[in-house]
């Protein structure tokens, strides 16, 4: 709980006032939904209950990873606000963050363990935790006996909750022996590898440093929807005189606010970057000193550009006039410091990694890397140096199999079905919803159908739960303690338990403990995971001296005073010491060559539309959700409760489609039917459908998305990414 002293700008007193104003003074056990609006005078007089304020941390797979303050009264979560002590969150939240009470108290929560008779039948029955764990444990032991190892058991856990404690579910799997693991990361690995080849790893400047930029290129990134708190710093930079350029095939919300928007042809970003390099080269606008001091291979790179790249070619590739490329290149090279924010959207292509390398090279030759207000920003994992105590567990002695088996998360269905010696017989899904979020939904479904048992730990009846045998209710982050950091900003936010677990929900670590107890009861020594423990103490076990030093704290409990920011945050690569084999920025990367790529940042041809499928479907994030979370909540449904397909007016006219007409979007994999939204925010050669899960709607853009690997990702994340935006389709009015 927060220290209730005066230092804190949002004191307990002002919270009490706030509560008085809301009239939210229901008696113990009263639902928060019984609050009657109005009746203000009465409510003001009726204070007296004690409100407590807790620190929470939004654990979603989002740049912003917000610091939240939650107000709890009589054990009920009354409201949330941003924590003003976090200078990135700045006391504000996004629409999703402000909707959390509706998630915690949603009537749709999975309330207790349930068993389904027949996957997909909807024939669920409530069972006790003991029954559920017994059934699961018996299955694990039976599989181990039958196959001689636990390798037929596969875990698919990823980004639904990035709280460090949630790695306990991986820990539980390590504790039963060697198992199969969904490996990789769907959304961003091509860019990670690109920056790893160039600089040794991913490190970005503190996003709060953007206010120091004089020129910002937002390249294939939409912070206005996906990182609202960053958008404030972009706007602040603008106010201080910075020019903001957005490059995107979609006129995104971000692009709409930019000074200059370039409607680039999808997947040709590398061609634009290389065209700009050519101009900078010809006009000697590069930073020769920086290149000689900090890089290797720039001569070869310049040679490649001189021999292979022309502005005419770049213009033809990208659809951007030569004169515009020239102006952009001159402005970018001449205005210092200049910052490029490389989005995850633009690397979800078969040439995504190569495109990121080309953009990195542009930032490097202009000497913008290692500068405040400069940089080629992608992401960082520098604040993630936890002990991973919950995750790193040892297998029982004598475990067979030798090591865990990697199953490509990005082609999950096919790889589960194709696994041999031993086959995969059991799935455990946590913090994921592959039935809506993975490509090739029909193959995912087949993989689920082929299992002996599917267990999913969830909060809602997602399509993944619908295809499971047993569902286990998990807590929200208000109901159990944890610790969170971001892959973008440099803050660490403690997550305190604010309310008791709802219904019979349990935290992933608790589930692991209970399952371990059951396994050991049935077969002593079959699981090494601790069978009991205090969750808050487990949070403490994640810390070490390096983290304390990095964040300037003595003890993790110091975080109870408020979030802290890493001391080494401000400027990435400031010292010019890169983590590549040469220690320099590598235009020529032997590592890249080892992984089958050209050693230089060259242009790799983009995927093109075909006669049968002439339109590219781009399926980016939607502003009211993060993947399959939030759009199912009633407050979101009040704003928007239906997906649509965005089509350019000329494209629509060609197909005889009018606004709100039902449109079938299809390819040889599948189809979806959606109402048309005619808009010039999209290009003529693309359609846009936002990925999401709407409850009670058979809507899933991944019905049409193939599991085509992106060019990079294998080095840093074990598997290449997915080319989500190389999805070619046709449309017809129905």
């Amino acid at each position: 709980m927060l220290d209730k002293n005066k230092k804190f700008s949002c004191s307990r007193r002002s919270f009490l006032k706030g509560i008085a104003a809301t009239g939210a003074t229901a008696a113990v056990g009263g639902s928060i939904f019984d609050f009657k609006p109005g009746s203000f005078k009465k409510a003001e007089a009726a204070t007296g209950t004690s409100a407590k304020v807790f620190q929470n941390a939004c654990p979603r797979n989002c740049y912003d990873t917000c610091a939240i303050l939650s107000t709890v009264e009589d054990g009920v979560l009354k409201k949330v606000t941003g924590n003003p002590k976090n200078t990135y969150t700045r006391g504000r939240l996004c629409a999703k963050g402000f909707s959390y009470t509706r998630r915690v108290y949603s009537p749709d929560r999975i309330k207790y363990p349930m068993r389904q008779k027949g996957r997909g039948s909807g024939n669920w029955e409530r069972i006790s935790w003991d029954e559920a764990l017994t059934e699961i444990a018996e299955k694990i032991l039976q599989i181990k006996k039958e196959y001689g190892s636990t390798l037929p058991i596969c875990l698919n856990k990823y980004s639904g909750n990035f709280d460090i404690m949630h790695y306990g579910i991986e820990g539980m799997f390590s504790s039963i022996g060697y198992t199969s693991r969904a490996t990789g990361t769907p959304c961003w690995p091509a860019g990670i590898d690109a920056q790893t080849f160039d600089m040794g790893t991913i490190i970005c400047n503190d996003p709060e440093d953007m206010v120091n930029s004089k020129y910002i290129i937002l390249w294939g990134v939409n912070p206005a929807w996906c990182s609202v708190h960053s958008m404030y710093f972009v706007e602040e930079a603008k106010r201080r005189g910075c020019k903001v350029v957005a490059i995107d095939p979609i006129l995104t919300q971000t692009a709409s606010k930019a000074d200059l928007y370039l409607q680039i042809k999808p997947s040709t970003d590398g061609a634009l970057a290389l065209g700009m390099v050519r101009y900078i080269l010809d006009n000697e606008l590069y930073d020769a000193d920086w290149l000689t001091q900090n890089s290797i291979g720039y001569e070869q790179f310049f040679g490649y550009v001189k021999n292979n790249i022309t502005l005419e070619w770049a213009s033809e590739k990208t659809g951007i006039p030569e004169i515009v490329i020239e102006n952009l290149a001159r402005e970018y090279a001449a205005t210092k410091p200049a910052n490029i924010w490389i989005g995850y959207g633009m690397q979800r292509h078969t040439n995504g990694g190569a495109n990121v390398r080309a953009i990195d090279a542009l930032a490097a030759i202009t000497g913008n890397i290692g500068k405040s207000g400069g940089g080629a920003q992608y992401a960082h994992l520098q604040t993630w140096g936890f002990n991973y105590h919950a995750m790193l567990q040892s297998p029982p002695e004598g475990s067979k199999g030798g090591k865990d088996r990697a199953i490509n998360m990005n082609n999950f269905g096919a790889e589960v079905l194709g696994a041999k010696n031993p086959p995969i017989k059991m799935l455990w899904i946590a913090c994921r919803n592959p039935m809506t979020q993975d490509p090739e939904t029909s193959v995912i479904k087949k993989a689920f159908e082929a299992m002996d048992m599917v267990v999913t730990a969830e909060q809602f009846m997602t399509p993944t739960v619908e295809m499971s045998d047993i569902v286990l209710p998990v807590t929200t982050f208000f109901e159990s303690p944890g610790i969170n950091v971001s892959y973008w900003h440099w803050w660490m936010n403690l997550n305190e338990q604010a309310i008791k677990p709802m219904y019979e929900a349990k935290n992933d670590v608790e589930i692991a403990m209970k399952l371990s107890a059951k396994l050991n009861e049935l077969e002593p020594g079959s699981c090494t995971f601790p069978t009991s423990g205090d969750l808050e103490e487990w949070v403490g076990k994640e810390f070490n001296d390096n983290i304390y030093k990095q964040f300037g704290i003595q003890h993790w409990k110091d975080l109870k005073k408020g979030p802290v920011k890493a001391k080494n945050s401000r400027v990435a690569w400031k010292d010019g010491k890169f983590l590549t084999p040469s220690g320099k920025y590598e235009f020529w990367s032997e590592e890249a060559f080892k992984f089958g790529h050209h050693p230089l940042p060259v242009y790799v041809e983009e995927m093109k539309a075909t006669d049968n499928y002439p339109l590219r479907c781009i399926s980016p994030h939607w502003k009211l959700n993060i993947h399959s979370q939030f759009q199912n909540l009633d407050w979101m449904e009040a704003i928007n409760d239906a997906p649509s397909i965005e089509i350019h007016p000329r494209t629509a006219a060609r197909y005889g489609i009018k606004n709100n007409d039902n449109v079938k979007m299809y390819n040889d994999l599948g189809y979806i039917i959606l109402p048309a939204k005619i808009t010039e925010t999209v290009s003529e050669d693309i359609v846009v459908v936002y990925e999401a899960w709407y409850k009670n709607r058979n809507y899933n853009v991944n019905y049409t998305v193939k599991a085509i690997p992106a060019d990079m990702g294998e080095k840093a994340t074990g598997m290449p990414g997915i080319s989500f935006h190389d999805n070619f389709v046709n449309i017809t009015r129905v």
């Binding site: 104003a21 109005g38 509706r102 206005a224 609202v228 006129l251 606010k257 928007y261």
Partner: protein
């Protein structure tokens, strides 16, 4: 001198993220379909180039509030600082105000069979704090101003499609969005 409190909405800063609306719902824990503040998209066609712009609207606390004029039971009062307050206890749910307001601000809540609306967080205002929507906006696009002392230069009273402000003299001002330069393949 009495105040004339008003929302100033900067539509250039506004990114249509709905945080203001949700901050309000969160603060008052409103019923799902009740929206005291709403974010409306402005039509693409009203700009010279396709744009994504929005107008965030709550109660406009009009100088001549129609809700107050038509209410048969005196549920509405206008404070000296201009805030128009709706008293839930007095309301009989006749819905005359929902028909009279040109901005569709008062909303009928079927659960209570009464109307409700934005009160500009007057208890917070009285304590020197900002309304929840103002404090919730990540872009700081909404502020509370006093029209009696506010220099309105650079702001507008309405957009295309916004009901004529002469009817009720709404206490709301907007900063208009700027249109950036666009290099497009389709124009």
């Amino acid at each position: 001198m009495a105040k004339r409190l008003s929302f100033l909405v900067n539509t250039e800063k506004c990114i249509g993220c709905h945080s203001c609306e949700m901050a309000c719902k969160n603060y008052y824990q409103l019923d799902p379909n009740i929206r005291w503040r709403k974010v409306y998209p402005l039509h693409e066609e009203t700009f010279t180039l396709p744009e994504r712009n929005f107008m965030s609207l709550a109660c406009n606390h009009c100088a001549q509030p129609e809700c107050l004029r038509v209410c048969p039971v005196g549920a509405y009062t206008k404070r000296k600082d201009g805030i128009v307050i709706h008293d839930h206890n007095r309301c009989i749910g006749c819905r005359l105000c929902t028909m009279a307001c040109p901005y569709q601000v008062p909303q009928f809540n079927k659960k209570y069979k009464k109307v409700e609306k934005c009160n500009m967080c007057f208890q917070r205002i009285d304590k020197g704090e900002n309304p929840a929507c103002v404090d919730g906006c990540p872009m700081e696009a909404i502020t509370v101003i006093d029209l009696n002392s506010f220099d309105e230069l650079g702001t507008v009273e309405a957009f295309a499609g916004f009901p004529d402000p002469r009817i009720t003299q709404p206490s709301v001002r907007f900063v208009k969005p700027q249109i950036g330069f666009q290099v497009r393949r389709d124009r």
